[in-house]
Symmetry: C2
Subunit: 173 residues, 2 copies
Amino acid sequence: MTEESLKFPVIGSDALKATFRAHASGVAVITSHDDDGNPIGFTATSVTSLGSNPPLVSFNIARGSSSYPQLVIGREVALHALSAKNLALAQRMAGPKEDRFTQEDFELVGNVPVFKSAASVLIGKVRERFEVEANAVVILDILYGTEPFERERPLVYYQRGYLTATERLAENS
Amino acid sequence: MTEESLKFPVIGSDALKATFRAHASGVAVITSHDDDGNPIGFTATSVTSLGSNPPLVSFNIARGSSSYPQLVIGREVALHALSAKNLALAQRMAGPKEDRFTQEDFELVGNVPVFKSAASVLIGKVRERFEVEANAVVILDILYGTEPFERERPLVYYQRGYLTATERLAENS
């Protein structure tokens, strides 16, 4: 693609993957618990606000994931926004399931594990799940949250790797 | 919040806003056309992949926005992933509606305006809309896309401003 000509040579899922490699996303960790009260959680790059009145959040998940059956309507969930210093947490929660909760770096809020080092944490409840093909959009009602740490650098996922953003280009007017 | 104590002093929408200031997001521009064929478009920080088989994208929008009634099922949509060099485009498409398409920097694909300078572009169609309170999650079927520019720096929205990410912390293993 150049400025002079506009071409669309990439088809379907290859096009999706190519463009999303070129699209940055924030990195979050979502935690909850299973029916037996055991902690579950995973790294997610699809967390986004869905309006503030009432406060709602959405994220996307594969219906085939082991976490999806646990995210039933009403289930309490913690959503952790991550900064650059949380890189190891992001990697751990995207790695083998048996390693995710072996470190003593979380507290239980009810049965929900909350990582204290996260830049900011929201507690919510699953409100609704919209299933689309093999995936689902999960909607959370947000109940309450922490005071975010100040002066963090964000953790960003881009081009299949983790980055941080330090160069400020413009303020929102 | 400190590492020693976990407190949740912020309630509801204030909590949502506080945490999402601490959560980075990529910046995209979504364009389409109205029933009369006139271009519409806006800057969005909620664009995320919803699975690649079939290729699906979701984004969130206020149902009260002027664009929402135009994003009917089947409507063709262009999704532009933005890099740091697209800052002015991101700002323009978040600014006054009458200024958004006055520059000759887009081509029409069918009736959909496509900005040629964007880091990568996907063309899709509205598949489904899930309405939740005053907002909606819009699902796109992805049809095809451009070859992304290589070696761009991403455009990131964080703490109410635009940043770019240059410091690479880790590759995804």
